[in-house]
């Protein structure tokens, strides 16, 4: 439910990208690029597809401290909250609340004309 394994993988990947970026003092997009470059060839294509689609949202993370990996994966539609279910989060919830942060970030992305469709990661 709520995105299941795909959601979990997304949160981990975004979190690692964020941490790698901090360690190397670079942008989060470069951080995730760096992670992809560590993978063997056949896994790099999937990783790069993820980066390509996720880049606008990952860039938002640099400007909004409340966009945690959990929020980023909600924005990517890889995590969601199904009716009657609680919202899942691995990292501490952002102060204004997950729902509010997601809503505001979506509005900003729409203003920038960024469309994020659900990723077809199999």
């Amino acid at each position: 439910v709520n995105g299941g394994t795909t959601c979990a993988v997304c949160s981990l990947l975004v979190s690692l990208a964020e941490q790698v970026a901090e360690i190397h003092n670079e942008t989060i997009v470069h951080g995730i690029d760096r992670i992809c470059s560590f993978l063997p060839g056949k896994f790099q294509a999937t990783c790069n597809t993820f980066v390509e689609i996720a880049t606008p949202i990952l860039m938002e993370m640099a400007f909004d401290e409340f966009i945690t990996p959990d929020v980023a994966c909600q924005l990517l539609n890889l995590c969601y909250t199904e009716p009657g279910q609680q919202t899942c989060h691995l990292f501490p919830l952002p102060n204004p609340g997950m729902e509010r942060v997601v809503k505001k970030a979506r509005q900003r992305l729409e203003l920038k004309n960024t469309k994020v469709d659900r990723l077809g990661i199999d």
Partner: protein, 425 residues
Amino acid sequence: VDCSTLPILKELCELIKTRFGDDHLPIIDVDQDRFSQYKTLRGSHWRGKDCSDLSAELYPGRKALRQDEVLDSNCNGIYGMDPSVLKPFEETLCSGTKRMGTILLGDSAGAHFHIPPEWFTASELSLEVFRDVAMIVENEFDWPMTSAVTGYMNSTWSVLNGPTNSLYLRLRELNHCNHRDFQNTAVNGANSRNMNSSDQYGFNRDQSHDHPAMVIYSLIGNDVCNGHSDTINHMTTTEQMKRNFLSTLKYLDTKLPNGSYVIATGLADGRILYDTLKNRVHPIGQWRHDVKYPDVYNYLSCLEVSPCNGWMSSNESLRNFTSERAANLSRALQQVATSYNANNFEVKFIEFDFQTVVDKWKALGGETWQLIEPVDGFHPSQIAMYLSSEVLWQEIVQQLPDVIKSLTNPNNARIRAVFGDQGGY
């Protein structure tokens, strides 16, 4: 895209889907004898390496064909003529001895599930830690080759630390003629329900052509572990457990050569997981110290992808209930094991007392958390594998002292001198 709908790939897809996905058999197995020369994809990391993939008559564990005068039919590395007596080596070095293969019917703990913690630690990510990612995926994130029952090699991987010892290595040490005679048919998520037809899990033994085997039936958690939010409703009941185990024993009686043994282990008490890890930081939270194990447990439960809601839970009553059910299921296994009369094997029951492993490790100066896989916070680590094999062996020796004594081959030194590593693995 469902690859089985593609005309050219259909047959290959079906092969992968059924043979690998459902039956858990090696994919690369030309002669279809269920043994392979390829390491991963249920190959020689999981079961003794095939000495010929072009003849279904040659495979590990079989009785030697024409005493292996010319060919090594059972892949134990012993073949040819002994010039001192003009008899085949297999006859002079192995014939008079009692042979015993090793077979595991188990779950992810038996297969040794391990995800490298380096993959979740930002400061340690590098090309090196992902070097073996293909092998790891092809082995379903399992490391049977370093496991407690069928492990045969010390880890040479930077992402897996710790020594290896196993039941197989001990039986091989007693009699070098047992070389390569092992099968790890464990499957991640296996429980007594899907084990009651072991055929599905690639178990392979022929009553007339193969040597007896020591079968370890070890399902230490999945009968009480599941990811459902109503986890208790999905736990196996004691009656179901008895029925399932009985069904497996009946099946084994039609497959195992006479003189075999089935050792059933009880379920683990998983309360140790939460008790040990509740205040520890998970590798993904190392950088900011913001994610502890209970956070990971709750997150996985929320997504309903937890391997074990019962034990990986901050709800103490639920953890206690899960342990109580696990103990009841162990008693059910014990009752069946002590009352079942098989035609071809003897059944024994041993507890899986992880506390003994903990005590041993603490006596060596270690700490309990080192015995648990850091990424999933659920499975036994490589060190736990090593120590579990010792505990398992001590229990077996205690229950079958005469049998174990009778397995010694006095020709081992000569086998080493003549055949060296017997072809390795």
